[in-house]
Symmetry: C2
């Protein structure tokens, strides 16, 4: 639930006056998202989303993110399109923060994802990967192996406050992944954070993908591993192979996976699990007293990591090996 910056109506009116959007009818903070301040802005031209970028989103990354949204939109991906003001510029400033107005997407994120949703998400992820293939800007993944090691160095001395033994477990996993992490899989722009609350549906129809603010260049199959972790475990921690099969099948119908990508999946899933385990652990340990946002449980991802450590091979994800 996130609105970090308070926007006065005078500031907002002046800001919106630079656009061809008519006057402001309403602007309400949205109680979703944890990184930036989001508002549902209704003007005489209808609803839009106003985002103010808070500290965690780096200013120098914004051209990549906004350029990517524009690139994907023009290629038919249902994602927010940055709206340019009359001077042609979309990235502006409001209340001392970088700010942008983007188009409004209908739909709601699925609170109880079904296999049919997972199939759609897999297909959408593949379409993003294909559509971004000719996007010219790049952004390294700050939360890859080197980033995990940095986070681990910052958390290792306090990780056992969350659960005894956690620090050693993380250290051992990083030692396992280091020499084995695949460096030469097909790569490109990945979403890197496609959790259920970032995908809108109307019924079974996917109507939009949002929150591209972790997008970066990395192995395409790693994005799928993030998706498997985000969508295919039940609330009780059980892995749902039916959902995983649906997601992988949906993906492969749009973009076939190579044998090396399939073989790498268990390792990629372990990497994706430790990535969210580490960021959640860091947030848990560094959660400011009295902050609005309740930190997410890091141990959820320890359970997922342990599942992936135990799989016998890609077949455990419901995959047949025929490509």
């Amino acid at each position: 639930m996130a609105v970090y910056t308070e926007v006065t109506d005078e500031d907002l009116d002046a800001f919106v006056a630079d656009y061809d959007l008519g006057s402001v009818l309403s602007c309400k903070g949205i109680a979703e998202g944890v990184e930036n301040s989001n508002f549902l802005l209704v003007t005489e031209r209808g609803p839009h989303i106003l985002t103010l970028y808070e500290k965690r989103t780096k200013r120098e990354d914004l051209p990549f993110f906004l350029g990517l949204l524009e690139h994907l939109s023009t290629r038919g991906i249902a994602c927010p399109l940055p709206v340019a003001a009359r001077d042609g510029v979309a990235l502006r400033e409001l209340c001392g923060r970088p700010a942008v107005i983007v188009t409004f997407l209908s739909g709601q994120w699925p609170r109880r994802a079904q296999p049919v949703h997972c199939a759609e998400v897999g297909a959408a992820l593949a379409r993003v990967h294909l559509a971004a293939a000719d996007f010219t800007l790049t952004r390294p993944n700050a939360l890859g192996l080197a980033g995990w090691r940095e986070l681990y160095a910052k958390c290792r001395h306090r990780a056992d406050e969350v659960r005894p033994g956690l620090s050693a477990e993380l250290g051992a996993e990083l030692e396992h992944l280091g020499p084995r992490w695949p460096a030469d899989l097909p790569a490109g722009v990945i979403h890197a954070d496609l959790f259920p609350d970032n995908v809108f549906f109307r019924g079974e129809e996917l109507t939009g993908l949002i929150d591209f603010y972790f997008a970066c260049n990395d192995a395409l199959a790693y994005d799928l591993a993030i998706g498997l972790n985000a969508w295919c475990f039940e609330a009780d921690g059980a892995f749902n192979a039916t959902k995983a099969r649906a997601m992988l099948t949906g993906y492969r119908k749009v973009r076939p996976l190579s044998a090396r990508e399939v073989a790498a999946l268990p390792l990629l899933c372990r990497g994706s699990a430790i990535r969210f385990l580490l960021t959640r652990l860091y947030d848990w340990l560094n959660h400011p007293e009295g902050a609005f946002v309740r930190p997410k449980d890091p141990l959820e991802y320890r359970r997922k990591l342990r599942f992936h450590q135990g799989v016998r091979g890609p077949g455990d994800y419901g995959l047949d090996m025929e490509g």
Copy 2:
């Protein structure tokens, strides 16, 4: 910032299907309000507000609140109008909670209130008082003198945790107010919570009043005392007599104040100050660990109380005595 109940898309679709609103396009939790869960619900018929009533709003009070909104709407007050489903019933159930869809009001609440806003708020308050005069349901004010005493009994032993001496100060004020509290002023339905975030404007034009969930029967001038406390102090604690004069003048143009109401104002302001001081103190002391909502500072109202204790008479509120 408040969304306490998570609504699944399936539950929401089924809920909205009972209305003549078409299908759901979007539903986003609003990061405002502290008592109930509010969502901006966009359907094929446009935007509405969906409210789920949480525990603090009593189920048996809802017919009063919803009936009042309907009564005021039909008399031209810009307030949310409960929307009836196809069976004619507006108060329904969603996710085990009483739930209602109300009309959407344009405008934004003024982050920096000016005297012109205060004048409009005064006039609007008077229009509400007149429009509600023939509303037949009644609801006693649970946060009147007896309610303050109950709250004080619950907080007195811990009040000094917030500021040494606070408990004695509250006790002395209640002893002062008890025998002097006016029992026979013109009474009727009051809003009882008309803070800036409950009043929408477009520029200088008032476009709506919301959040009638403390409305009750009490002295009409007490509502004005609540408004003076809510609108006419600056962030540094200073009383702004220009704003107070604007609010009182705005009110009196619509509904003249009797000499007894004017004379009672300092006492009513003290009562209003201790009411918010006590509820904030109670929330502060009973704030659940890790809750979403940051409790409001009770001491803001101690400063206001002390101001009202020091006034020489109604003239200090910028009032001339001619009615």
